[in-house]
Symmetry: C2
């Protein structure tokens, strides 16, 4: 089989945690996403030539999630193959919608294609997690899994890594609002407590079970009732100005549920249908407009596709 010499892929933004599923649940969006161009070179080295749209990111492969993730894959193959890489960031770093995950996932997916390496999706998640470790200090999989596999994913277990692709109802749409403030993932993790009450844990796993059941049953109301987070959101939402008002506006406008995307500051809402998701976008936007915080918004289907060839 002929090997490709170069490839350009699209790697989607993702929403991790999804209210009740801290560190285990995530889903892929259809927009925004990163575009990653990868070409073999004969220099036995990774060369990141350019990162469009994120001038602050390091081009040194050992300090860039793309370089680290690709290197993890190459190490497993005992390969010294070199690549030239150019990234165009559609997912802004620090947005909370899986910016580092999109780049890491796209990069390893592209290299897997170029080398005909036939790694499983779970293997690719494992390599991309090394990018996450560099970006946030924790090798979490709840963004890279949906970025690679598409749709809703569950990290059933980290040791061993066990990722389950869930059902993704057709009409499920996501509204994202990204207030232009900075919350670093590492800071967002440091505010969390290391212990929780058994009572809250039970509420949380009831909701995880409810959300997974709702996805398979395509029961939008059950999905909505399950989008509750009694553990993380009450703490992290303190870092996001206007969070309570944005959430209330989204629910009042008819969203199924609303919570923090990943470690924030982006806030996501899920809705049945794109029209409903657009209404929710307007309602959420009005809150930040009124309190004078700059913001970006996206409306997207929950995408059944992960990384794809452009």
């Amino acid at each position: 089989m002929n090997e490709l010499e170069e490839i350009t892929v699209f790697a989607p933004a993702t929403v991790a945690n999804v209210a009740c599923g801290f560190d285990v649940l995530g889903f892929a969006l259809s927009v925004p996403g990163d575009t990653i161009y990868v070409k073999k070179n004969d220099l036995n080295t990774l060369f990141i030539s350019k990162i469009n749209g994120a001038p602050d990111l390091s081009l040194a492969p050992e300090n860039n999630v793309v370089g680290v993730a690709i290197q993890a894959l190459l190490n497993e193959l005992n390969s010294k193959q070199g690549f030239d890489i150019e990234v165009t960031k559609g997912v802004k770093p620090g947005s909370g919608i899986g910016s580092s995950a999109a780049s890491s996932a796209g990069a390893v997916w592209a290299v897997n294609q170029l080398l005909n390496a036939n790694f499983s999706e779970t293997d690719l998640v494992r390599f991309a997690m090394e990018g996450e470790r560099l970006a946030s200090g924790a090798a979490h999989a709840d963004n890279v899994a949906p970025a690679i596999m598409g749709g809703f994913t569950l990290v059933r277990s980290y040791e061993p890594l066990d990722i389950v692709k869930l059902n993704t109802p057709q009409d499920l749409h996501c509204t994202i609002i990204h207030p232009q403030i900075e919350v670093k993932t590492s800071d967002a993790r440091s505010v969390l407590r290391t212990g929780i009450s058994l009572k809250k844990a039970i509420i949380q796993w009831g909701n995880v079970g409810g959300l997974v059941a709702g996805l398979f049953l395509e029961d939008y109301k059950l999905i909505g009732r399950s989008l509750q987070d009694v553990v993380i959101e009450p703490i992290r939402s303190e870092l996001i100005p206007g969070f309570d008002n944005v959430k209330r506006a989204a629910l009042n406008a008819g969203a199924l549920g609303c919570s923090i995307s990943g470690s924030g500051p982006s806030i996501f809402a899920l809705s049945k249908g794109v029209e409903q998701a657009e209404k929710v976008r307007i309602a959420m936007s009005q809150v930040y407009h009124q309190i004078g915080i700059e913001y970006l918004t996206y409306v997207s289907a929950v995408s059944k596709s992960g990384v794809s060839i452009l």
Copy 2:
């Protein structure tokens, strides 16, 4: 519509918690079960004439789960209707397979039929939970829900009560071994800690999500991988002699998973197919035989039926 004057129902034993789903997951067995005969009387009073097979249980309706559960239903109807009730316990009190739940569930289900009251299954669960409150001090729903609704159930939320019927794969069979020792539900609850680490909570809700997904996907291996409890089993298993050996024997014999049924002392294992479940029964039995503890065993399909008319 003519009202029935009397009815006899079968109410199944149930397995609650199901490893990862403390207080939220449960499933119904096809055997054993309680048989409950209920007949209207004209005395405006609940009269429990007999409880076969459990001579220690009180016949006073205010001290018996059957009386308390029926009274909760009658209170909601503002009804003073009286009933004569006779219970034959197939599910031994203190076994950990939902003995009080079977009686409570069967009783309210029967009365709902006799009065044509048209309560929803969730309402019936709510009434039967009052029996659970009497029996154990906590109005948990993870046994009464599957006893009434059949199959696998999830208590998504207690406040408000929200119960989800999950998919139940056809080939899923359960082996129960009941060592003849006493562990009171109230004691089994008192050994639990009120807090857990966030790390363990994440492992637990990953497994809850995995088990629910496995049930819908009918992925028996995923079901097996998800049958893990890092929160409750390590503590409660100390109360059950031989637990670790019984569990190891079940898994070595091919069970998908094995854990404590409810608050114990019964231990359950799930298997694919009845023949496999019979092999597991033999393996588990050998352990108790060797250490000289008396035991009962059951092998049953995970039953899609809850309470039914006999």
